[in-house]
Symmetry: C2
Subunit: 198 residues, 2 copies
């Protein structure tokens, strides 16, 4: 065996970013099935590390009923509240970005019944104030993810005959988000292309 100067075999050390390290860890347990939310969270961490944008997940709103201060502020009674805005927001090139992520197992349409009227109202307001607003929609059975401008979702929510958007409409009006290793869902170039080119 060859002796190396420092007494240990030469190892190729490459820098692994925090987001990449997490992504690798997740890949190794891929059978558990990564969900859409963690894919987006990892992508946002990647964008943050690469200094491309600042997009964060809003914490889940929780109504705290009782806190036990004898044990150092342990919450002993609380309940989840409905999100009245959306999951994600942030800044890209000075512009305000706001979006909601949803996954469906249905192949032929995206159901709107688990989008609240508060969320629709919020997205309408964001658009009225010239913010960028969209949905990231996963068709899990197809392994396809689309970015769809919020205006289409609002339109179908308010005036659609069915409480769903057909897959074909999303395929036509939306933008397929490329899946990759890191970032998992590279949606930022799409945002740049459709909202930030003058």
């Amino acid at each position: 065996m060859i002796k190396y100067p420092n007494g240990t075999p030469n190892k190729k050390v490459t820098h692994i970013s925090k987001a990449e390290s997490k992504a690798r860890k997740s890949l190794s347990s891929a059978n558990r099935g990564m969900d859409l939310e963690s894919d987006i969270n990892l992508s946002n961490e990647y964008y943050l590390e690469k200094d491309l944008c600042v997009i964060t997940k809003r914490p889940t709103p929780i109504n705290v009923v009782k806190v036990d201060y004898t044990k150092g502020a342990i919450i002993t009674n609380a309940y989840f509240e409905k999100q009245s805005t959306t999951d994600y927001n942030g800044v890209y090139k000075g512009r305000y970005i706001d979006f909601e992520a949803k996954s469906t197992k249905i192949k032929t349409s995206f159901p709107l019944h688990n989008i609240t009227s508060h969320q629709i109202k919020h997205l309408e307001r964001v658009l009225a104030h010239q913010g960028i607003a969209f949905f990231i929609i996963e068709f899990a059975a197809r392994n396809e993810v689309y970015l769809l401008d919020a205006a289409y979702v609002i339109e179908f929510y308010k005036h659609g005959e069915r409480q769903s958007i057909p897959y074909d409409v999303i395929k036509e009006k939306g933008h397929l988000v490329p899946r990759g290793f890191s970032p998992r869902l590279d949606y930022l170039p799409i945002v740049d292309k459709i909202y930030c080119k003058n």
Copy 2:
């Protein structure tokens, strides 16, 4: 006594908005002492109702350890996490807005020890991506509230000799936020004036 057509004295009925109604309720119990956060929340509700901007409070991040599903998803064990971003963000004229609100009882300076390095990093990133970032600072003993650009706070946090910003600096570099009935703290015209005039 004059008899009115409907048998009751004529009352002047005026429309009271939701935010105003809340503000009035709070005024009637003014001795309990309104805090800065509720003043800002009421102002944001007012701005939302008047359709001037969309600025919301991020929910407090809570780490949920245990949920009792037998009683319909009651959280029985959880704890508060440190906010790694800021309290508020949103959109005004398409621009991304991000700010933190802090109150101090000290008259001569604004202490920085309860601002985390994560928050400073977050605000640096927001500024780098051309977002609007500031602090709303209340000097409770003076009954004065200032809007101060985040760049000053970052500068004092990183390079200041003391872990505080002198009151005189905030008075000079910041902008006094007018207190009123509704909105309680009218900070939006200041944002408009210093960040949105081209």
